[in-house]
Symmetry: C2
Subunit: 658 residues, 2 copies
């Protein structure tokens, strides 16, 4: 039997070697946390290395994602198919699944993409929520696992960590256990340079169980993890460690954090650790013992599969974990749209979103809604939803509190856990607070639906702090994110259908505070899926194509009517989703954009970006400054966003051009 | 003598009346905190209503900015010139200084712009830092004031609050005192829906003094504020209050939070409070007593002015508070640029920034630098700087810790306090974490310099979580923010000179990790001030204008050289600052953009936005997806950002066009 320190040294050796070969990376954290991770993976984590997709596995999230070699070493050693030793040799090289930071979309076994500090911890809260929710729905037989996290000082200094631990404590997520790599070193030096917090007291204040252990001592960690599992509260396990443990001169210093140790230091570390195998080689007996640990869960997994096969919920559970949106719910949206066509409504698109949700939610138990304390403004809760709480994890509506970033990250975790499709609301302007989580969701292929209301100066009196102007553009700039700004009730319902169907990326629904007339009055295909489409065709020879979104489509139509009355034909194109429009074929796009005519964009936000469609010879109406505090009509007039003002400017340009 | 409750009721009445007249706003918080605010403004806050610009006044920050009527009422009642009662009647109307949320640029007496929750608290940490720093420099005679904050549950649930209180506790900012409006109500209902934190324990864990009082009892608050001032730690004063106090049916409910109470409820409140004066009228005796409170500080202020006049530091202090950048420092930049011209350097622009700072910092004590734990990567610390700490507030370098959002907000507070120009570093990708603070600084006209390094896929192996691609565009979209992406050492120094001189807006310097050749080799004007300029002119008839920024200017030059060798004349325009370029006159811009030629943008980020300059007929080279983990050269080749690849594409287009 190999001693635990030697098992841990296999992690240390791989971390040193891979970082050295890549000539970049972070050896210090894997070396410091190797013993603790060994205790977790050989004694506590429920997993089967041969089946990384086992639905009831424990989730392990490396929130301190820069220590990615810790994860890669663990996956390799325990016998996952990937990474192979060659993958590890190619650490941080193009195409290797061993990227600089763990990437869930490159490597089974990486549950999340981490690196931006604090977010792994916040995502783990979502994972733990998903576990309790699914447990409440499907019972202990099918869902009964833990969520484990390794977090560093960086994770715990980021503000999002407070949102995460506050939410986890409130929800009593006792199956969430966080190992804190308490090494007292950050990049700039000792953590005492910048922090004096009593971490135990802080977590205790949030309703957590806190336990300390010697993170370099297997038995001490083992006992702490056992205690953590036994406690009904979420647990913080403070693991006192030494960054770069084993490195003769750099251990305990920031010098081991983020750079290769160098050949000499590695040699010294090997000597100190008693590790004699050549670089990238793991002695067979040590590998065998690790692989045995990787098979620990096989029996449990087989038993679970037998229970699943025998369960009356088998099919339902499989559909949930596959992320299938029930056909009935999609049909419900269709029926809702048909009803809107039959009986048009002039309502805010945030209210239209609520109506769409009311058609979907009762038929799609996979949806888990919520808001960052703006439920009545975001219109995110439907009547059928009960509250998700520590008393009732079966509830389907989450009061996330005033924690936008924590909410967005938790939703990423919910989506990546599987079995739920999360949506959550706040004001569009506060997408700023959660922006990196939206981005990380896009990078991670997480199906999360962000319901972002009060989407322009149209919110009125709350003023410039609450009026988004640059946010639509800045969200459109994020890769792999679909941004919808529907113009009416029908487009809103269509956007919901598309967002739900989009299994590999998040969506944003930007929704108005103010009422908007229903513009789509005939039944037919989901035109929002086209991204942009001709809503009104010119009735006299076409001179202008208006391109507008959301609440400004109505205004473009008004301007077009005035111009047509003067003989200038105008198409009005509604462009609820740039990403979808750009994905149409060239002929479609060219037809919609209308060739050699004056193209005019109208959107109550920055005009930057619209030149992509209007060219530099077009006209762009928008808001290129901060907004102001005033009633909505005053603001639209002040910023020149009225039918008459736009028509007059367009007419002047047409006359100048002719 | 009017009793304190009656004084407080004047606030309540104005808040109810203004919100009712505006038909929007937040009466609940002013009504709940009126007594506490009365204690603060009549007994503790050091101010002179006739001189809102008194440098040594206490700073009062309404972090719960939605309760803006509390501030407006206090300023009006105590006799500030604005707001007048007519301003208050015009609450939330266009042009009124009484905006929906407090706006420092509209109203003297509003120290900051607040509304986005948590940030007022975090800005107040910067204010308190500025006070201690200037005290250390100028002594007790000139700088000796407190910073007071009113924060709500929303502020304290936002993650940034943890960053703020962690930093304040670590820095032992004893002159910072926060009144927590502990009303146990948030928008969605009882705070117990979403939080179970023990707030006192949490603040205690961060090194704060915590004291509780009855927020509806003047004497209780008064005693607590006295205790807060006496304690050497920053203080949290937990004021137990009732939201909407006085409203007969809505008090204590979220119904009083964010909507007009309605005539009937207001009538009931007036009756309950014993307030009989008509709407918007304050009885003369009550107004007189409030105005006396507004003059409390006049004697202190006069004494302070006398001390200042007698001080040997008078002129220096005045220059500091005026935000004057010493002429010697600006000359130092010029000398540094001259030295670069004489002896060109191939270094990363982050290193070039360090060299510029080394030329500036010793000559400009007004600068206060820092980093969010990336000092050695951001190159933000110069040798002359000592550490700002609880042991030495005279230090000029702040270890902000892993708290990007908290840093950015604190820098806003430092800038708005006056007497310092803050700069701080992190990676460009993590501008996401602090994005709303960057925005709020832009809205607030705060001169803050954000040093954002590792500005593209050029950072290499750390991979897509750390590689900004959409960030340049999304920052350029923020109004009143200057975004610089210098191409070499000289442009970096020029950008520093411009950022320092820009007193009414923040700046971003986006800087490379990788080394870049010096491209500017002749002395002359600050060309970065032009935003875009012709760096290389075509040597054969011009067919192409390259537009590039930062690290891609070198690549555009390489492509141009290849094309020129084949007879296609190419200008290369360096565009380090779009905002500055757009501010040039039309003739200059037209000349630089080159008229009817093929315009080609080259920037290692999203191409969206560049069509504003290239038109839709141009070519755009960039990165329209997430990056990847690999060495830099592999990535630039993969994304097609090399001279030969770009030249080949451009040539193909030219041949197709001809």
């Amino acid at each position: 039997m190999t001693d635990s320190r030697t098992l841990a040294n296999a992690i240390r050796a791989l971390a040193m070697d891979a970082v050295e070969a890549a000539n970049s990376g972070h050896p210090g954290m894997p070396m410091g946390m190797a013993d603790a991770a060994t205790a977790l993976f050989t004694r506590h984590l429920k997993f089967d290395a041969s089946r990384p997709d086992w639905a009831d596995r424990d989730r392990f999230i490396l929130s301190a994602g820069h220590g990615s070699m810790l994860l890669y070493a663990l996956l390799h050693l325990t016998g996952y198919a990937r990474p192979t030793i060659d993958d590890i040799r190619n650490f941080r090289q193009f195409g290797s699944p061993c990227a600089g930071h763990p990437e869930n979309f490159e490597l089974a076994g990486a549950e999340t993409t981490t690196g931006p500090l604090g977010q792994g911890l916040a995502m783990s809260v979502g994972m733990a929520m998903a576990e309790r929710h699914l447990n409440a729905v499907f019972g202990d037989d099918l869902v009964d696992h833990h969520t484990w996290v390794i977090a560093g000082d960086g994770c715990l200094m980021e503000g999002i960590s407070q949102e995460a631990i506050g939410l986890a404590g409130h929800l009593k997520l006792g199956r969430l256990n966080v190992l804190w790599d308490d090494n007292r070193i950050s990049i700039d030096g000792a953590t005492s340079l910048s922090t004096s917090e009593d971490m135990a007291k802080r977590f205790d204040a949030a309703g957590w169980h806190v336990i300390a252990c010697d993170g370099l001592d297997f038995a001490s960690v083992d006992a702490a993890l056992t205690a953590a599992k036994a406690d009904p509260r979420p647990s913080l396990i403070a693991c006192r460690t030494v960054i770069g443990f084993g490195a003769p001169t750099k251990a305990g210093t920031s010098g081991s954090h983020g750079s290769p140790l160098g050949a000499k230091e590695i040699g010294g570390a090997r000597e100190a650790l008693g590790w004699t195998a050549p670089a990238f080689e793991i002695p067979a007996d040590i590998k065998a013992e690790w692989e045995a640990a990787g098979r620990r869960g096989a029996t449990d997994r087989a038993a679970w599969e037998a229970r699943l096969a025998a369960s009356p919920h088998a099919e339902d559970f499989a559909q949930r974990m596959a992320g299938t949106v029930p056909a009935a719910a999609l049909a419900g949206i269709d029926a809702h749209i048909a009803a809107l066509i039959a009986s048009p409504q002039k309502i805010a698109t945030r209210k239209a979103s609520e109506l769409a949700l009311a058609a979907i939610n009762p038929l799609a138990p996979i949806l888990l809604g919520g808001s960052a304390d703006l439920t009545g403004s975001n219109n995110t809760r439907t009547k059928d939803q009960t509250t998700f709480s520590a008393d009732d994890y079966a509830g389907r509506y989450v009061y996330y509190g005033i924690r936008e970033f924590g909410m967005a990250a938790a939703m990423n975790g919910l989506a990546l856990h599987g079995g739920v499709i999360p949506y959550g609301g706040t004001f569009l302007v506060f997408s700023d607070y959660m922006r990196n989580a939206i981005r990380l969701g896009a990078l991670s292929h997480a199906r999360v639906i962000h319901v972002l209301t009060h989407d322009s100066i149209g919110l009125g009196e709350d003023g410039p702090t609450h009026q988004p102007v640059e946010h639509l553009l800045s969200l459109r700039a994020i890769p792999n994110l679909a941004v919808y700004r529907p113009a009416d009730t029908v487009e809103t319902a269509e956007a919901w259908a598309l967002a739900l169907a989009d299994a590999t990326r998040p969506s944003v629904l930007a929704l108005s505070r103010q009422n908007l007339p229903q513009l789509r009055l005939t039944a037919g295909e989901n035109l929002t899926a086209r991204g942009g489409y001709r809503l009104r065709a010119a009735t006299v020879p076409r001179a202008v194509v208006f391109l507008a979104t959301g609440s400004e489509v109505e205004i473009a139509i008004a301007a077009a009517a005035l111009l047509e009355a003067e003989g200038f034909g105008c198409d009005v194109v509604s462009m609820p989703c740039w990403e979808a429009f750009d994905a149409q074929d060239a002929a479609y796009r060219a037809d919609i954009l209308g060739g050699d005519v004056l193209r005019v964009s109208v959107e109550a936000g920055v005009t930057l970006g619209w030149q992509r469609y209007t060219g530099t010879d077009g006209l762009n109406f928008g808001v290129d400054s901060f907004g102001a505090s005033a009633p909505i009509d005053v603001l639209y007039d002040h910023f020149g966003l009225t039918g008459p003002k736009i028509a007059a400017s367009v007419k002047a340009r047409l006359q100048r051009n002719s």
